[in-house]
Each structure stands twice: as structure tokens, then as C-alpha cells.
């Protein structure tokens, strides 16, 4: 900025801030300040020094207003100060809100109930109950009741993952879940010393009953979650599946109860056993693949 621009800016701001004073008085004030600046410059002072000595034009204007008993004007803040303030307050508010929400949703951070043998961490996000062997981590729930040998639980399961179940000497009843949760409710054999094992992999959930002898499970699987069942000595009952199924059993029985509105493609392969003849596969884009491979056993289909 040239010296002239700086001076004009200063005088303009001063003039504006004198608002309530009459036009002629304002003009005279500006003229006098200008005269002072000329005198000071003639005396060898630098313009910036002179303006600094005078003070901010708004402050000087307020002095004039005060001396006349008029109401002063608010000193305007530099626009960047305004935006910085708005930005800072906004960010601060959001951070505060997030912290409050976090603390609120995760509080109490840890709660131990010795009497009940229960530990809750992060406001119940992780919930371990000794009685009944219940464990809850986020959306996943697992319960194991030692007395009745019941193993129950649920966890969210998206169609992007495959569900793999392995079993031996078991009976598994499979239904379609009404939501996006995979649920299981298993009754384990008294003699069994192993519990079912659930492993979450990148693209797969493995529900392993292979070491659990004589389990009877009811599971609910969300629509379109491809389901693989592998087992020996057992029975699998599929009740109106809305997901692709791939079953391989040695010594057993596979029972399909079909959903009438759903289209299916069947691929059945039985060695030493029976399967329904003349099944109509509907080879459309929406059709679900029902694949079953059996050694020593029967495949039954109902609901056609």
C-alpha cells in the first residue's frame, strides 16, 4: 500500500466511525486530523508512527463521541479475527460434544459387580457375566450356561461374509434371520468338554462345532449370507433359506423346506443314498444355489 492509500484508509475509517456527529463537524474533524498528520510529517515523523501514536481510528472516533456524551460504537474486529473466532468456537463445540457423547455412551468406564460376578467395561460395550457365562462385546453376544449346557449368542453378519459351520454328531436347524444378525442357540451334550468356537476372519465367520459332540443347534442366518455346512454324522434341516447353501455331509440327512416365492437351483450329489428326482432348477439371476453332497444318506425336499 502506498502512503496515500494508508492515509486515506485511516481517514475513511475515522469518518465512518464518527457516525452520529453531523456531516460538517465530521468534515472538520477529518480536516484537523489530516492537518495534524501533515504537521507531524513536516516535523520528520514517519506516517505509520504518526498513525500509531493517534491510535486506531475507531478508538479516536469513540473519544470524540465520549467527549460529546454520545454513545460509542463497537470497535470493529478484523474479519480474520471474526472467522478465527467462529472457526475456533465451532471446532471447540464439536470436540466438546463428541467428548461428552463418548463419555456418556461409554460410562461408566468400568463397573465391577463382585456379587453377581459381572464386569462391564465402557458403559456395557463389553459385558462379562460369570453367572450363565454370558459375554457381550459390542453387537456380539455369547451365552454359555454350564448347568444346562446351553450355548446361545448373536452377532451382526453382512452378506459380504460367508458363514462356515463345521460339526460332527450334531443336528442343525437353519432358518432365515429377520434382520442382519446371525443367531445361534445350541444345546450341548452333557459329556461334551468342548464349547463351540467362533472365529471371525476377513471374509468368513467360522462356527466350529466339530469338537462338540451331540450338539443340537438352531441357527438364524441373515438373507444372502452364503452358508457352508461341513459335517459327519448329523442332520441338517434348512427351513426356507433365503441364502445360498453348500452342504457336505458324511453319514446323515439333509432336509430342505423351500420358500415358495423363492427361486432355487439344485445341485445334489448322493453316494449311497437317495435324493428327490425331477427337481426343477430355475436358472434366473435371483435364484439361490442349493448345493448338497452326501455320502451315505438322504436328501429330502419339501414345499415344492
Amino acid at each position: 500500500m502506498t502512503q496515500n492509500t494508508v492515509l486515506n484508509n485511516y481517514l475513511n475509517r475515522l469518518e465512518k466511525s464518527l457516525g452520529q456527529i453531523s456531516v460538517s463537524d465530521r468534515a472538520e474533524i477529518i480536516l484537523e486530523i489530516k492537518s495534524h498528520i501533515d504537521d507531524a510529517q513536516a516535523a520528520g515523523n514517519d506516517l505509520n508512527e504518526i498513525l500509531n501514536a493517534l491510535g486506531e481510528p475507531e478508538t479516536v472516533a469513540n473519544r470524540y463521541l465520549l467527549e460529546r456524551g454520545l454513545q460509542t460504537q463497537k470497535t470493529p474486529k478484523h474479519p480474520i479475527v471474526k472467522w478465527l473466532t467462529v472457526g475456533f468456537l465451532g471446532t471447540f463445540g464439536i470436540v466438546c460434544l463428541s467428548v461428552i457423547v463418548l463419555i456418556w455412551s461409554f460410562s461408566p468406564l468400568i463397573k465391577v459387580d463382585e456379587k453377581e460376578g459381572r464386569v462391564q467395561i465402557l458403559g456395557g460395550l463389553i459385558d462379562v457375566q460369570k453367572k450363565g457365562g454370558k459375554v457381550k462385546i459390542g453387537d456380539t453376544r455369547v451365552e454359555y450356561d454350564k448347568d444346562s449346557h446351553e450355548f446361545k449368542g448373536s452377532m451382526p453378519l453382512k452378506p459380504s461374509k460367508t458363514l462356515s459351520m463345521n460339526f460332527s454328531n450334531a443336528q442343525v436347524q437353519v432358518k432365515t434371520s429377520v434382520d442382519e444378525f446371525f443367531r445361534w442357540d445350541c444345546e450341548l451334550d452333557d459329556e461334551s468338554r468342548h464349547k463351540p468356537n467362533i472365529t471371525t476372519l476377513d471374509k468368513e465367520i467360522v462356527f466350529d462345532l466339530a469338537n462338540v459332540m451331540g450338539a443340537q443347534c438352531e441357527v438364524e442366518i441373515p438373507s444372502n449370507v452364503h452358508t457352508r455346512l461341513r459335517g459327519a454324522n448329523g442332520r441338517v434341516m434348512l427351513d426356507k433359506p433365503s441364502f445360498g447353501v453348500d452342504v457336505e455331509i458324511t453319514n446323515g440327512l439333509v432336509n430342505f423346506e423351500l420358500e415358495k416365492s423363492q427361486e432355487y437351483i439344485f445341485e445334489f450329489d448322493v453316494t449311497n443314498g437317495s435324493k428327490p428326482e425331477n427337481l426343477n432348477s430355475q436358472k434366473t439371476a435371483k435364484a439361490l444355489l442349493m448345493r448338497a453332497k452326501l455320502i451315505n444318506g438322504n436328501i429330502e425336499v419339501e414345499g415344492l
Partner: protein, 120 residues
């Protein structure tokens, strides 16, 4: 020293008016920049941003009158010269008398003040 600062601020307002009127009276007529320089030389630092509004007020109160002077050569800038009005002169005399009186009181009691527990 906070108390001293507070007291100085209180007393300064009236005192500054008196000093300005005194300088104008002594010079007959004076313009802003000259007035600041004179006050400075006499040991009274006054900010430009304070002095001009003050002169403005003394003008609107009818204590000072002003006139613009354009210099003969037309090269220099105009200056606003202040001088005392009769009302201003009257007030200045009254203020000076009061100030003298106060100073007399202070001088007369100086010994006593020095002896008191509040003394230096």
C-alpha cells in the same frame, strides 16, 4: 502503585483541561500539533488521540473558538487555530484560582503532612 495510577487518572482529566486552557491563554492562539509539542516540552505527555477530541469538546462547550488558517503561499496545509472565548477566559481564571488555592493548602500543611504517618 495502583492507587497512585488511579488517583493520577482521576486528577488528570481536570488538570489536562486547565493545562490546555493555560497554554492557549499564554500563546493567544495555537494549533493542535503546536499545542501537543508545547505540553510535551513542559513535561505533560498527552496522546494525539486524546487531545483532539478534548479540543473539540472545549469548542462545543464554547470555551474555545477556532479558525482555519490557510497559508499565504498556498503550498502548506491549513491549520486550525484555537483561542479562548470570553467564557473560556473566565473559566480559566476561575480554575487557576481554585488550583492556586489547593496548592496553597498543600504548601501550608506540608509540615503537618510530613509529620503524619501518611507522609513520605
Amino acid at each position: 502503585m495502583d492507587e497512585l495510577l488511579k488517583w493520577k487518572t482521576q486528577i488528570r482529566k481536570g488538570y489536562l483541561d486547565l493545562c490546555i486552557l493555560a497554554t492557549v491563554e499564554a500563546q493567544g492562539r495555537v494549533y493542535g500539533f503546536d499545542l501537543i509539542e508545547r505540553l510535551k516540552r513542559n513535561g505533560l505527555e498527552v496522546k494525539e488521540g486524546t487531545l483532539y477530541p478534548l479540543l473539540n469538546r472545549l469548542g462545543t462547550e464554547g470555551l474555545l473558538k477556532s479558525e482555519w488558517e490557510f497559508r499565504d503561499d498556498n503550498k502548506g496545509h491549513p491549520r486550525k487555530f484555537y483561542s479562548l472565548t470570553p467564557k473560556g477566559m473566565q473559566l480559566f481564571r476561575g480554575m487557576s484560582e481554585e488550583f492556586e488555592k489547593m496548592y496553597e493548602v498543600l504548601k501550608a500543611d506540608k509540615g503537618e503532612i510530613n509529620d503524619s504517618k501518611y507522609g513520605a
